[in-house]
Symmetry: C2
Subunit: 349 residues, 2 copies
Amino acid sequence: MAASLTESRASNKQIIFKNYVTGYPKQEDMILTSSSISLQIPDGSTSLILKNLFLSCDPYMRGKMSEPIIKSYTDAFTPGEVIYGFGVAKVVASGHADFKAGDLVWGITGWEEYSLIPEPKGLLKIKYTDIPLSYYTGILGMPGLTAYVGFHEICSPKKGETVYVSAASGAVGQLVGQFAKLMGCYVVGSAGSKEKVDLLKNKFGFDDAFNYKEEPDLTAALKRCFPNGIDIYFENVGGKMLDAVLLNMRNHGRIAVCGLISQYNLTQREGNHNLFCIVTKRIKMQGFIEPDHKHLYPQFLELAIRYIREGKLVYVEDIAEGIEKAPAALIGLYEGRNVGKQVVLVAKE
Amino acid sequence: MAASLTESRASNKQIIFKNYVTGYPKQEDMILTSSSISLQIPDGSTSLILKNLFLSCDPYMRGKMSEPIIKSYTDAFTPGEVIYGFGVAKVVASGHADFKAGDLVWGITGWEEYSLIPEPKGLLKIKYTDIPLSYYTGILGMPGLTAYVGFHEICSPKKGETVYVSAASGAVGQLVGQFAKLMGCYVVGSAGSKEKVDLLKNKFGFDDAFNYKEEPDLTAALKRCFPNGIDIYFENVGGKMLDAVLLNMRNHGRIAVCGLISQYNLTQREGNHNLFCIVTKRIKMQGFIEPDHKHLYPQFLELAIRYIREGKLVYVEDIAEGIEKAPAALIGLYEGRNVGKQVVLVAKE
């Protein structure tokens, strides 16, 4: 079919993935370009045109920047193509029966101002808009469900148990700590700056917190915070921290392995030397990823919305303004520069 | 009370633990001595005198030879005192209502010809004597329950799944492989000699087996045996083998961590570098020890007895004759010299 004679187009800034990355990603690995995009759906197509409002920077994205040697649960980005990830967007045009122009959605979208989504099955319509829309990249999105599932489903927490969270002020960690407090657990978190440690203690209600960068001996730091040991460890970082935790775990402890961000950018990963504790202390260590638990999202959403409205859950975001800031924001994640969930604001509406 | 005028005594060879060990234990770390022991129970005592028939050599005993720096689930041996472990014995004299002279028992006893057991709560009476008595140190004892619990309770096996067992011809491994075959799984084992590999394939019915010492690349060896990956790994060795396994696990795989014998004698443990697979493949890795599951022993015993009588379970033992052989037999375990369960015959009856 012929395109409309009055076809409307928009200029479209995009972040292009340059090539596979070794070691820490650099800003130059992502290129800002500008092109234009038609804002109309070809007749008969079931695709959507989205105007992207918020883009999410998440640790797992580093895995998509490496050359795909070992098949992972997530495909690599394609060199020369637009980076993609979670985001919040407004439907500009829809050829799909489930969506109409003006709908707000969250899910996988491109790192660009406008995205053509050929198949919108990965997108969810946003039902509650009295909550900041950016929250759908965080507390109400993938990180939120990750924290909920990782803590409640993988760790089997019981009231009164001791919980340790690393990367505790991040998108997931800050929620795990709050879920643990809501369960009646004793919760300690670690983070990489005084500002973050203050957030943990004063904003998120952790019982205690420490700056891991200022601890010469992580094993001793954990022993100080948990004189009787750790029942549950929510693992976001790996490496030396995991070894220190293993020495401090209690018998029958549980470790939910959500991520190992300390290792993602190393060309030679650190070794873990204390796995013998898994036997002697009968530890369960379990990896998980959020997509396996998507069916729990509706019940999680209702709970989270209620807790947010009641003030029982709070959320701290670090919002970079402008799509051109996206590469630096993503890189900052691996250096711990973000304070709270890292989001990129592309457009306000 | 005065001892009987006709007190009977016996000479008693004993194996004494010399001192804490670093690195591989040597024969000189255990000293053969001889003393004598009264074979009568003091009036009013509830103790037992045992004549030891079989002593068990088990990998966990290495942990009891190290200086106790980190508290473990098992106490260290005391320098200068008799080594102890699982064994099969005959009651010579009993001051305890539950036991009488002539009873056959298994449980914790001393590495000596006769043992005075002040409190017999760790001893079980042997009910079935149509099975070789030495089996109560193996298939019908701690290693048997270990294999049963580790495989059935920790690994949640399903028919048709792929199972890999390391140290597969050992006291536990040979049983795990047979339990897995009885479940309808595809089972591959590894061991350290051609003789052991032949046993795995021809005696225990493993689908495939390999000699890990002859594989220059363990990851490739596992890929060859499991082109579609491993669902269940029964971990007995640790170290490089675990890293190779992690790369070959399937999504949602389970690893029961029974022991890490490759690491027990190292002063500097090897590092494990592939824990990222725990996240990407959503692996559950769980340590366990047999004492936590003792309540399952009665049901396990009935099952094992039935399977042995029906010829569905076989068991291979490596029996060293004479208590003076016990130190060499124990050391041999860490060098893989034993073929099958290592037992020491102290007395035939």
